[in-house]
């Protein structure tokens, strides 16, 4: 059973987008974006509020499908698979995990939170689940913190712990890519630091795309940075390059704090 699903699982780790456009009703939120996101690196999207970076991020796991009147055109490829063709969206989301702006642990135990994904895909054996829970928590560097309270409610954890639990939960289905939508905007500096460390650690196995409001965060953790403005991807390149030697004057004005 599990094996059949594994075969069906989309396994790509790079993202390639050509001529992407997205509308909410009549409003065009994404304007003709093309970008190549490399595998096993941290890529950051920066830009002022409402510029479409979160919207663009949600195209990669088709979370925008949940929004009424949302229309997407263009080519989105994860590995070799065009994800806006007829595919199994659930298999896509299994490969492309997501961490949200506000931590959203389910109202169940720590253990059940992490086991939720694997159980979704048909793993019910206790020993296998135990193994997955332990590995995921270790990967998220919180095994030592939580190993004695696996059966406690996830809602009793602190905000930072909850967010790292959500990362562990995403890791439990072994995704090739993890999308992070401003994952630290609701957290204190110490928790933020822990999550940033975690991101770097995760690039050994996983591609990470992170949306952030915090330019320092982008410089600290990302290999590639993309600057969004009014639905356009103004510039995408090596982080050092973008921050020290931006090609576009709008990027320069933004990173030097003239607007945004």
């Amino acid at each position: 059973m599990a094996k059949t699903i594994n075969e069906k699982k989309l396994t790509g780790q790079s993202i390639s987008v050509k001529n992407a456009n997205l509308w909410y009703g009549d409003f065009q939120a994404i304007k003709n974006i093309s970008v190549e996101i490399p595998e096993k690196k941290v890529s950051a999207f920066i830009g002022p509020s409402g510029c479409g970076k979160s919207t663009f991020l949600k195209c990669f796991n088709r979370m925008n499908d949940l929004i009424p009147d949302c229309r997407v055109t263009g080519e989105f490829k994860i590995g070799e698979t065009n994800i806006y063709q007829k595919i199994d969206v659930n298999a896509l989301r299994r490969n492309v995990g997501m961490v949200f702006q506000k931590p959203n642990p389910f109202p169940m135990s720590v253990y059940d939170n992490i086991a939720y994904g694997p159980r979704t895909f048909g793993i019910h054996k206790r020993s296998a689940l135990d193994q997955i829970v332990e590995t995921s928590l270790k990967q998220a560097a919180m095994w030592n913190e939580l190993k004695d309270r696996l059966n406690g409610s996830a809602l009793g954890l602190s905000g930072g712990q909850q967010q790292r639990l959500c990362i562990a939960r995403a890791l439990a289905v072994k995704p090739g890519i993890i999308l992070m939508d401003e994952p630290t905007s609701a957290l204190d500096p110490i928790s933020t630091g822990k999550i940033e460390e975690l991101c770097e650690e995760l690039t050994k196995t996983t591609t990470i795309v992170i949306v952030t409001h915090n330019m320092q965060q982008a410089t600290r953790i990302s290999d590639k940075t993309g600057f969004f403005l009014l639905g356009e991807l103004v510039e995408f390149g090596d982080t050092d390059e973008i921050f020290t030697n931006p090609k576009d004057v709008r990027t320069e004005r933004y990173i030097t704090g003239r607007f945004g």
């Binding site: 949940l66 199994d88 298999a91 406690g152 954890l157």
Partner: protein, 608 residues
């Protein structure tokens, strides 16, 4: 292959939920179809105009559609009576309700307020036969001291109806009063107005639409109320030409005569139901208009034109403050009314519950066989055990039918509908209409739709099916509310892990929504136990032996109370029955409230 299966499973799930929603719409259509088909011959024979505007009703059960009429069938006295009683109820319940809401929102300290608010909710759960019974045993004797008759008539009806609509007015008005932005209060006080001036000149006007909506909804309740009115109105088909003259309302017409109705008479009674339904739906339409206005007004206030609206409000406050010096007397009277009404409502409540307890408890203690005695035909020793069994049957069957359909409809409406297409709008409108149909009209529908299916005589099954449909709208609405309360981020979290819709609904959404769903179930139980009008001509109204099967007929507890209090010989047994009813309903309501509180606390993670 597995992928395909999963997809089919999702599709089947959606179809299942949609089917439940369709059942709700079919129910509405069936009610209208049956009532219209059954009333058209009567309207044809009697003439629509003559039927509605004729003011003489003297029915003859021997009238048939093929022969000339010997009775006359005009319901205008009853239309007039219905509206007069409603206005009377509004004068009492509306005024006291409004001021009680103001008292609770702005004058009452926190702890008594919490107790008082939940007690008001309990008041809403008391069966209407108990109100009627209270009217017979307490109100009528008191009024008879000043009345030329036994006290029944317009005044008694207005008082009882007034108390019955009180909870509706109080809780809805209180909600809209509390929704007025705190900033208005502060702005007014900062300009030198005192508490009462601010309350009556700034806060109350700002909540106007919501308060009007609550009054309109209360009118809908009063128009459709049946049993309590039947028990205190006197019921002769005359115009109410004084506070104590016997008169008849539309609902009472159906209850009084349906039991022995002949061919044309039955048609005329169903036609009465159609007229009643028309009025109630009209009122609900008006309610929809005002509550929409209230919602848009508050959205406007809070979001769209925050600043302009606020400035306008400040200007108004200033004007008010200038005029205070002239009108301080009025504000003082209002303040007095608010506190007085709060006390009045509390006293009325305690009186009803206390009176039944004091009178009923000794009966049960002296003669406990009332509750568990063996039924004997034509015996002086009344026992309500058969009624208790009948009621339990009705509760079980109706919940088994209505909870799954209602919950699935709610799931469909809340989880599967991204946009408001015509199908969704029809379902929602259908549920709104169902919610407005008066209970006696459900009774009529059950009588002409279900009773013939099950052999033409009343049965527990026919009664339970009838009440199942009646429960649907409340179950759908409260389940939808609790589904809505589950955060969107929870669903996103599940979808983002690759879980499908069904898994997300059953593993994430439903467990979180469970407290609300459970309390909806418990409140529905209370409703089945409280209702009597839908059962009279569907399930039966004779207190007889313990039913052997669901095809037997029987009187539920509430119907039994109606019978016992009407006959006059068994008033002690009636007290005992009323007490049993009140205890069950109060226990259910309190359980529902506690359960919801406890589980929602647990969900917030206090136990971690």
């Amino acid at each position: 292959m597995t992928v395909l299966n999963a997809k089919n499973k999702e599709k089947a799930g959606k179809a299942f939920f949609a089917a439940a929603a369709v059942i709700c719409v079919i129910a509405v259509a069936a009610i209208f179809a049956f009532l219209i088909i059954k009333s058209v011959p009567a309207f044809g024979k009697l003439g629509v105009f003559e039927f509605i505007f004729g003011d003489n009703w003297s029915s003859d059960r021997l009238d048939t559609y093929d022969s000339p009429l010997s009775g006359t069938y005009g319901i205008f006295t009853m239309i007039f009576g219905t509206f007069t009683a409603t206005i009377g109820a509004l004068l009492i319940g509306g005024v006291f309700g409004y001021f009680t809401a103001v008292f609770l929102a702005f004058y009452c300290p926190a702890v008594p307020k919490r107790i008082f608010s939940s007690v008001i909710n309990l008041l809403a759960g008391i069966p209407s036969v108990v109100y009627g019974f209270f009217g017979i045993v307490f109100l009528l004797p008191v009024l008879s001291k000043i009345a030329p008759n036994n006290g029944s008539g317009l005044l008694a009806t207005s008082i009882i109806l007034g108390i019955m609509i009180l909870p509706t007015v109080v809780s809805l008005s209180k909600t809209s009063l509390e929704a007025v932005p705190r900033a208005y209060y502060e702005a007014s006080v900062a300009l030198g107005a005192n508490h009462s001036e601010t309350v009556f000149r700034v806060m109350t006007p700002a909540a106007k639409s919501g308060i009007i909506a609550s009054l309109v909804l209360a009118v809908g309740r009063a128009l459709g109320e049946t049993m309590a009115v039947v028990m205190v109105a006197g019921n002769s088909p005359n115009y109410p030409d004084g506070l104590f003259s016997s008169f008849r309302v539309l609902t009472a017409n159906i209850v009084m005569e349906m039991g022995y109705a002949g061919e044309v008479q039955e048609g005329a009674l169903i036609a009465t139901g159609v007229v009643l339904l028309f009025f109630v739906l009209l009122v609900n339409l008006i309610f929809g208009f005002f509550s929409k206005k209230a919602v848009t007004a508050s959205v406007k206030k809070q979001e769209k034109h925050k600043i302009t609206y606020f400035n306008k409000q400040i200007k108004r406050i200033k004007n008010c403050v200038y005029s205070f010096t002239h009108k301080i007397g009025a504000v003082k009277i209002c303040k007095g009314m608010a506190i007085g009404s709060g006390i009045f409502s509390a006293v009325a409540l305690l009186l009803i519950i206390g009176f039944i307890f004091v009178k009923g408890l000794p009966q049960i203690i002296q003669k406990p066989s009332i509750i568990y005695g063996k039924y004997e035909f034509a015996s002086e020793n009344i026992t309500i055990l058969p009624s208790i069994v009948t009621t339990l049957f009705a509760v079980a069957i109706s919940l088994i039918i209505s909870i799954p359909i209602g919950l699935m409809t709610a799931i469909f409406l809340n989880e599967y509908t991204k946009n408001n297409n015509i199908f969704i709008r029809i379902i929602r409108r259908g549920i709104d209409i169902l919610a407005g149909v008066p209970s006696i009209v459900y009774g009529l529908f059950g009588m002409i739709a279900f009773v013939p299916i099950f052999g033409g005589s009343s049965s527990i099954l026919a009664g339970s099916l009838t009440i199942s449909i009646m429960l649907l709208p409340t179950i759908v609405r409260s389940c939808e509310e609790s589904l809505k309360s589950v955060l969107k981020s929870q669903r996103e979290g599940s979808f983002a892990l690759g879980a499908g819709k069904l898994r997300t609904i059953f593993r994430i959404v439903l467990p979180s929504a469970m407290p609300g769903i459970l309390s909806a179930i418990i409140l529905s139980m209370g409703r089945v136990i409280s209702e009597s009008a839908p059962f009279l001509y569907t399930m039966g109204s004779v207190i007889s032996a313990i039913p052997n099967s669901v095809m037997d007929s029987g009187a539920s507890l509430a119907v039994a109370l109606y019978r016992l209090s009407g006959e006059g010989w068994y008033i002690n047994e009636a007290y005992a029955t009323a007490l049993v009813l009140i205890i069950i309903v109060l226990a259910l309501n309190i359980t529902a409230e506690m359960l919801a509180g406890k589980l929602s606390k647990k969900l917030k993670g206090d136990n971690a």
